[in-house]
């Protein structure tokens, strides 16, 4: 116990805290810039079971920020090299290596063995996949992400009160951004100390969750800017849309294509200026995918209502060859359009860009002119 003496003498932590760490199972997805400090500090602190998922091998350009690896490790699988170094750091820790991408096929099996999951990945498809899996499996998720000199940290899906779970990634960002949106699915610049800082906050949140000390970042998004040293905390509120965006069960999770999350921008989105020409056409059906209780009710043009939340049970069918979907802001309908397009590649399917509220506003503006 001498190894842990400096944390055991902390009043709030004590030998009780140390026992909890030793009994904990933590899965770190991604052994890169964020994953390295997370793994190092969790191993050093004495987390009993550490799992790590990474498909990659160590490369020279990793070493500027991925501080677990040495120059001699270039070319080795990251999980192998990381396990080696972590064992030397702390032989008490049991390490499980998964040299693979986390996919819808292996995620449930892997995650099920752990109490807490840490998102240390570097792409949106993985982030949404991990989030949804953790919601479905009821696992707390410690999220971290970086961009240039800034980072974000949050604790998702942790039990906060009487079995109520804290908000998750989709309560902040309901759907993944498009492929050509800047910073998505492309390489961005990063100073090594940034993932170091964010990873350390993540490791600290993991330790807090395990030992029950302090206040974890539940229902909150911590932002960090290393250039200005502005650290801010934003409150996240649960959104009624979130549950309908996550697969309803494990079976539909396994069928979901998360790679589409980094989807190319297609002309699936219909601009409001073109919307009017589709009214009252024989070959076109306009569909409101909002929940039936959502306002405003639309009476400007004929349409039908099929809430997207019901689609996993039963996908609506339409005889028309062109289908235009709309919702409040254009996000849910875009998701629905992509969902429908996979089922019916033969049909022309559009989502009204920016949603019905935007369209309505433009109509009011026109009338006032």
């Amino acid at each position: 116990m001498e190894r842990y003496q400096r944390q055991i003498i902390l009043k709030q932590f004590g030998s009780e805290g140390q026992k909890k760490l030793a009994a904990a199972h933590v899965l770190v997805v991604g052994a890169g810039g964020l994953g390295c400090p997370i793994l190092m500090y969790l191993a050093a602190a004495g987390v009993g079971q550490l799992g790590m998922v990474d498909q990659d091998v160590v490369s020279l350009s990793n070493l500027q920020r991925q501080v677990l690896y040495n120059t001699i490790d270039i070319g080795l699988p990251k999980v192998e090299s990381a396990a080696e170094h972590l064992k030397q750091l702390n032989p008490d820790v049991n390490i499980t290596k998964y040299q693979t991408f986390l996919t819808t096929q292996n995620a449930v099996e892997i995650i099920n063995d752990y109490d807490i999951v840490v998102d240390a990945t570097d792409n949106f498809p993985s982030r949404y996949l991990i989030n949804d899996a953790c919601v479905l499996l009821g696992k707390p998720l410690v999220y971290g992400a970086v961009s240039n000199f800034e980072g974000q940290v949050a604790v998702f899906n942790a039990v906060i009160d009487n079995d109520i779970r804290s908000t998750n990634y989709r309560d902040i960002f309901p759907v993944p951004p498009m492929e050509n949106e800047i910073g998505n699915c492309t390489e961005i610049g990063v100073l090594g100390v940034l993932p170091g800082t964010i990873g350390c906050i993540q490791a600290s949140e993991v330790i807090k969750l395990i030992t029950g000390i302090g206040k974890p970042l539940t229902n909150q998004l911590q932002t960090v800017n290393l250039l200005t040293n502005h650290w801010q905390i934003f409150s996240i509120h649960p959104s009624s849309d979130t549950r309908s965006l996550i697969p309803s069960d494990i079976e539909s999770f396994r069928k979901r294509d998360y790679a589409l999350a980094c989807r190319p921008k297609t002309n699936v989105e219909l601009d409001y200026s073109e919307f009017g020409q589709y009214f009252d056409r024989e070959d076109t059906v306009i569909v409101d995918v909002r929940e039936t209780f959502e306002k405003p009710e639309i009476d400007f043009f004929p349409h039908v209502r099929h809430p997207f939340s019901m689609w996993e049970k039963e996908v609506p069918t339409f005889r028309q060859s062109t289908i235009i979907l709309f919702c409040q802001s254009g996000k849910r309908s875009l998701n629905a359009a992509e969902f429908l397009a996979k089922k019916h590649p033969e049909k022309k399917i559009f989502s009204l860009k920016n949603g019905i509220l935007h369209w309505q506003n433009t109509q009011i503006l026109k009338e006032n002119e």
């Binding site: 992400a145 240039n148 902040i172 951004p177 949106e181 910073g183 934003f234 409150s235």
Partner: protein, 77 residues
């Protein structure tokens, strides 16, 4: 009435500023409408709006003391 809007992540690069100021924005819907009118690049990028450190999903009345932040998602790791 002038309102200060803090930019995060890639939005700083897109608008080439750390913050922007907008006049005559009574509520968050008007703010977004005006922002997207002035900076069309904002229509093509995902971000959340926070008012006084709360992520909002409905229209909210703004005052001069309101602190606005535009938060895009980060993917890097």
């Amino acid at each position: 009435m002038k309102i200060k809007i803090l930019l995060f992540g890639q939005l700083k690069e897109i608008l080439n500023a750390d913050f922007i100021e907008m006049k005559d924005v009574g509520d968050s819907d008007i703010l977004m409408e005006k922002l997207k009118g002035k900076f069309p690049a904002l229509t093509d990028i995902s971000f959340r709006v926070a008012v006084d450190k709360n992520l909002i999903s409905e229209n909210i009345v703004l005052s001069e003391s309101s602190e606005i932040a535009l938060l895009p998602p980060f993917s890097g790791g």
